[in-house]
Symmetry: D2
Subunit: 374 residues, 4 copies
């Protein structure tokens, strides 16, 4: 049987755009059971020359500097550009009935996420959001353990996503620190979104939060040496309650010396606890209260064929995946969702809920009070 092609268009070929490109290719060999054959069809960059070079390097058939042409030409659009461009591309894609995989934080603020999400509901296009870590096999397995009751009633979650890419006081001002380009959120939108997506995936909806944000470096020089005001937060911390009765705390920092991909969490339930850190992506720590007391302890579970879809990459246990493989899983899940004509969670609904949590944190900080969600 010949599979139907699914033409992908990639808007943006920076760090994260490039990982999407690699993933589109890789899915074809990694997953033998794809419903459609993903075709890296068109790539859009800010100039025709840049687009052409990136398309050649990344194996795309065509290139353009006009994302509207790309939307027209493909079946599925991947948006991997700064937030200020998300809304227009997304609305256009959905209006054309195209599928959309949008990078987080999705738009400049919750209002934009809501607009995009509303458009999606009117469209036959499917949607996914680049909550890549939520698709890590060991995190999806943690979710399965919860569903299977291995942790019992959930009590408390604590999570963080810290990195240190702006820890250097002399780091250059970039678009990520500029509100009109990156949006209302600083580290919350960049990293906080990830750990919030995982907290919600594992524990459910967040009901109320209080928190604080800090901009430890309020000014930075840009490439030309001009002093610029940093317009969003370097750090945020919050505590909150989940709708299911569990409690939680979250932290996110982009100035945490030594943290490189420190998306980590601990979740305790009545019957056990799991711990994870993305810096050790192929491990899950699990403590089971059902083990006998003399040999109880956190187990370092190494990834194996039971932790889907690791087995599609490698049959042997413990050989490990890298970050780029997570993007391959993301594309694979997106293709399945398209085939099944459904959204691909974590999706725009999740992005919207998370954007509301982030705004509640800003509000809690500003108004010095707890903020209820919904």
């Amino acid at each position: 049987m010949i599979k139907k092609n699914l033409k992908f268009g990639l808007v943006g070929a920076g760090f994260i755009g490039r990982t999407h490109a690699l993933a589109i290719h890789a899915t074809r060999q990694v997953f033998a059971d794809l419903e459609y054959l993903p075709v890296p069809h068109m790539l859009c960059e800010v100039s025709a020359a840049l687009a052409e070079k990136a398309a050649r390097n990344l194996g795309f058939e065509r290139s353009t500097d006009d994302w509207r042409k790309l939307v027209d030409a493909v079946d599925a659009v991947i948006v991997a550009v700064p937030s200020q461009l998300h809304r227009e591309i997304a609305l256009n894609a959905f209006a054309s009935g195209k599928h959309l995989l949008c990078e987080k934080p999705v738009g400049l603020n919750s209002e934009e996420v809501e607009q995009i999400r509303a458009a999606a509901k009117q469209s036959k296009g499917c949607h996914a959001v680049g909550f890549t870590y939520a698709r890590a096999p060991m995190i999806m397995f943690a979710k399965r353990m919860i569903d299977d009751g291995k942790l019992g009633r959930l009590l408390h979650f604590s999570g963080r996503h810290d990195e240190d890419y702006l820890a250097d006081p002399d780091a250059t001002f970039s678009w990520r620190q500029e509100s009109k380009v990156a949006g209302r959120f600083g580290v919350l939108g960049d990293l906080g979104y990830h750990i919030l997506s995982i907290g919600r995936m594992l524990c459910g909806e967040v009901r109320a939060v209080c928190g604080l944000t800090e901009t430890f470096y309020p000014e930075r020089k840009d490439g030309s040496g001009t002093v610029r005001t940093v317009e969003n937060e370097d750090y945020a911390a919050l505590v909150g309650r989940f709708a299911n009765g569990a409690a939680g705390s979250f932290q996110s920092s982009r100035v945490a010396r030594g943290s490189k991909q420190n998306l980590s969490f601990e979740l305790s339930g009545e019957a056990g606890t799991v711990r994870f850190s993305a810096e050790r992506l192929n491990e899950l720590q699990f403590y089971s209260a059902t083990d006998e007391s003399s040999t109880q302890g956190f187990r370092t579970i190494l990834i194996n064929a039971a932790h889907k879809p690791y087995d599609s990459f490698i049959p042997a246990p413990g050989h490990g995946l890298g970050f780029n493989d997570l993007k391959t899983i993301e594309i694979r899940q997106f293709i399945s969702a398209i085939a099944e004509q459904r959204s691909c969670p974590p999706d725009l609904d999740d992005a919207y809920a998370i954007s509301k949590i982030c705004e509640a944190v800003l509000q809690s900080n500003a108004e010095e009070r707890w903020v209820n969600l919904r």
Copy 2:
């Protein structure tokens, strides 16, 4: 030169009282340079028989079931009984000019801590509080690193003290869950006090907090099978600001499956980060931004002679101390403070500040707002 004796009286010979007893003995051989010779003179327990047996086992010269007699008979009083008894003993000790080492949380609430502290200020007696972890060599060394500028400006702290001694839903109701015996705080007073003492020792005064508390098991059966209401929290989480501009988050749980002595923290500054966990008491993780980028990483510093006063226990590096050794350090610091006629921090001033933070968390939870301290 013959050293002057310092007669110790121990009120309470349970788990923690016993560690004080061991420590009084151990200081004599571990520390060659003691200013006074600590003498385990009198031990007080709830019955004469129990007191006599404990005194014999723990090497005390005399025993009593009347703590007033003990206060009269000794130079220094160690209070290791439930919180409801702290105030009366402490006030009595200070009135008699005796030195006091009081276990945390010190009294039933901040008002009592304040009364005890006020009495201390009127007395020639010195005071210390059983903030034992703050005296761990690797934590004191972290403090020294901060003072030496190795972390630069402090940015954010996150810490927790979790255990699982009440994680079993069928665990028996005990005095620790009863407000009139244990005081206003549950896990905050038992474990939270420790991590708050360390956060304050490293980062300074806390200026404002918001937080939440939960009692996940609102009822438990006592020894006789009677269902009892749990009167204080199983879990607390908070975020806050330090006076020096750093931000922080804290968590404490007594129902965290798998956590046995999980007092752990991470503190990031402009120039570096330290990480610690009391479950690996003899290690400190340190990331220095000054290392060259290709070989940068968290170092696992193993305890050695540079981490005072480890060298008094063992000259060889990496051989390690246990929890009981921390109590020996506590007694040794207390003796020095007495010799120098000063208090022995973390002391009653610290206990008072921490009790105010804990009450602010309860208030934040109840009133759904941030609470300023002072």
Copy 3:
């Protein structure tokens, strides 16, 4: 400039063959600076149907059940079939001037490796061997640290490659336990080869060894239930001397419960020590004697752009590679070697030296004596 194509032929599409297929594809996007464009041209399997299906799944243009046709049709041959077939394919490939990337252990014994290697020397074909772990960025970086003098004079190495794929007493007898298919070596050829290749890469030639081997499960049932004799070792351990004066010990087991990809080593020099485990592929532990004593400790170096060629995969530090990415690096190195008309170490010379070490271990075990190499 249009790059010249380099047609690859893959013989064998099992576990390891498949990773080669993925890697051929991935190199095209991961490495922008490839000298040739690798083309997955032909795939050979034991039947035409199997070959055709594998070729379709793995993105090869053509398929065959005759490896001779494949050799004729391509520029570079990858041999990923059981050892008994290595010699004939390899000799044929070299006779045709084709490049060869052969999986270890290369042939049935050192005599065959020597024949293949001799043929390579007569051919214009370049050669590489599937010593995949030796190409892990953190191990290559360890090599660079040694070359840069960061460890000083090398003193002692200890390494192992343990897995547990035959730890289950009821595991089925397979071709790997049959000498005429898998060759003279059991775990030594399968896993021992890897850690020996790394020991030699870091410390140089091995001069003398003594060691032992064990077959803990001398009989196993095959798929049909027939009891079969296991013809090679489950475990080997050896000590030895390197030509440079360093000492070493090696272990390899295929029955080590809990070891999944436990290729790990520690290498101590006068000035420092490095530690590595493939189960934490993206970390290198480094202890430098030049650090000040109070903050000395093993650093957990997380992979970053300084650890080539990680930056070709991901610009952000700490995001990590998986095992399949190592194969991509292998193909990339092979292409460079072909472009530069040289061999691609670790290569057939290394495989030969290692096969001689393994035979020396068998001899030491049989004759109860040390065995000198050369």
Copy 4:
């Protein structure tokens, strides 16, 4: 009931002698169920002044510079002086019917150990050897797990005891490098003894070995600047067979940069594997093949009341012991053995067997062959 006193005499108050002194005191309070009351009666050092000072600091009733007087005056003798003095003191003690706790390696060579052991057999004195690590609760628990069948048939052991106290090329020549004082063995006698004692305790008798030794720093300057020849090995590595069919490898180094107390091992059996490192003294790693495959992994078992006699020190789990506590356990075991009129393993029989293994390694190195034991 009044306990009978047991008078201890300590010969040597250096690093390790001092730990014995602390332990004699600590046993009295830590263990409520002691059969005898240990009394630190007399301490012997090389001069009367030194002895008097040490006795005062370490709480001994009397002091002397004549070990014969000490032997006469006490019930039990602890020998913590360099090896050249072991034999004479030990023979004298046994001749007087005194109990003996001798530090390893016990005498200058196996002949001396044999003489001491023969004397013990003629004496009513009980004997123990300072194999302190073998008494670590988590190692004794590993032994219990083996006895309970949790590992199944034992397959292979690998262990090491590495430190770096002589890693500095400029470290001063000391008595430990001088054969006539320290004995035939260098690091084998100092550290190797420990890991060999544990290997034998867990796996039983060693039947044959081959190995190598190296003196990487053949000359060092002594305190006066005179260049001295290092007379024993800095490093040893060996492989061997246990009588029960298991295989093993051992390493010991005193020049291993970064290793501080790296006594570590891994033992794999048919049903599971345990891993231990004395640098994390309060943890045991355990992998059980009986766990279900999706949640299988090494468990980090933290010390708790099930790991005897930890509960005598602290009732709460995970609070941890330090190295000095191991000496307290050693004294406690010795007292029990005396009360039961038996030897206290690991004892002189073990020391003798281990001295024979070490000599076999030297012989294997010299004669380039395997050496059988017995």
